[in-house]
Symmetry: C2
Subunit: 159 residues, 2 copies
Amino acid sequence: MPTPPVAFHPRRSVEEVEEGCILAPKFGPDGLMPCVTTDAATGEVLMLGWMNPEALRLTRETGEAHYFSRSRQALWRKGATSGLVQRVTEARIDDDQDALWLRVAVAGSGASCHVGYRSCFYRAVPVGAEAGGPLRFAETARTFDPVAVYGDAPNPTQL
Amino acid sequence: MPTPPVAFHPRRSVEEVEEGCILAPKFGPDGLMPCVTTDAATGEVLMLGWMNPEALRLTRETGEAHYFSRSRQALWRKGATSGLVQRVTEARIDDDQDALWLRVAVAGSGASCHVGYRSCFYRAVPVGAEAGGPLRFAETARTFDPVAVYGDAPNPTQL
C-alpha cells in the first residue's frame, strides 16, 4: 500500500497555531500561501513563490521545492524544465502559519529566476534620500540564457 | 511647498518591467504586495509582510519599513508600538515587480515578531524522511514579553 499523504491539521486556537508543534497552515482566499525561498549557502532571497496545499505536501514529502504557478495555474516542480531543482535544507513556517520560508540548495548554475539571474530580486529600489531614482541592477549578468533553457515557452510575467 | 510624493509608473511592456530601471509595481487583487524582510546583519528572514501603495511610498521616502496590516486593515509603521523600528539598508524588487525584499536593521532588541521571537519563522517544518513529524522550535526563547510591549492590544493572528 502506498504511504498515506501527510495531513494538515485544523486551526483550533491562536495559542496552538502560534505556540504549538502542529502544522495547521492557512491558505489565502485564492487557496495559496506565499513562500520565501533563500539560498542555503549565501542567505540571498532567491524568489517569492506561492504554494497550494498540494505543493506544500509534495515539498514536505519529497524534500524538493514545489510551487503553484499563478500564471500557468498549475502545480510546478521547480526545475522540471530548467534542471534548476531546489533541494530543501530547511523549511520554516511563521507565527500565524500563513507563510513559509524554504532554505534551498539549487542544482546546476544555482539560479532561480526565469529571466536568467540567480535571484528574482536582481534590482535595488532606491530609498531615503535616493527615493525616486532609477532601479539599480544588483546582478549585472545573467547566469543562463532563458531562450536556450525555456525555448518558446510563454514568459510567466504578466502585465 | 511640500515635496511631491514619489510616483509609480505604468506597466507598459514585459521587457520594461523585467529588464528596465523603472519602478512599475503590481499589487494583487486585494491591493497588496508581499514583502520579505531579512535582517541586514544575519540574513535571517524576519517576516513576510504586505504593502499597499502608501506603505511602499512611505518606506521609500522615509527609509523605515511600513506595511499594511491585514488584520487591522490599516497602514502600519513597523515599531510604532514596540519601538522595534526597521531601518531599511536595501530594498529590492523582483522580476515581474510584484514582490519586495527589504534588508533591515532592527532597533532595540532586534526582534520583529509580535509573539516575541526575533523572526516570525521560529518553527521548522520537517521535510523528507521526517515529514509529518511535529514542528520544531528553531528559536527557544522570546526576546521580549508581548504583554509588556503590546498590553491588551488585539493579537493580529486570526484563525
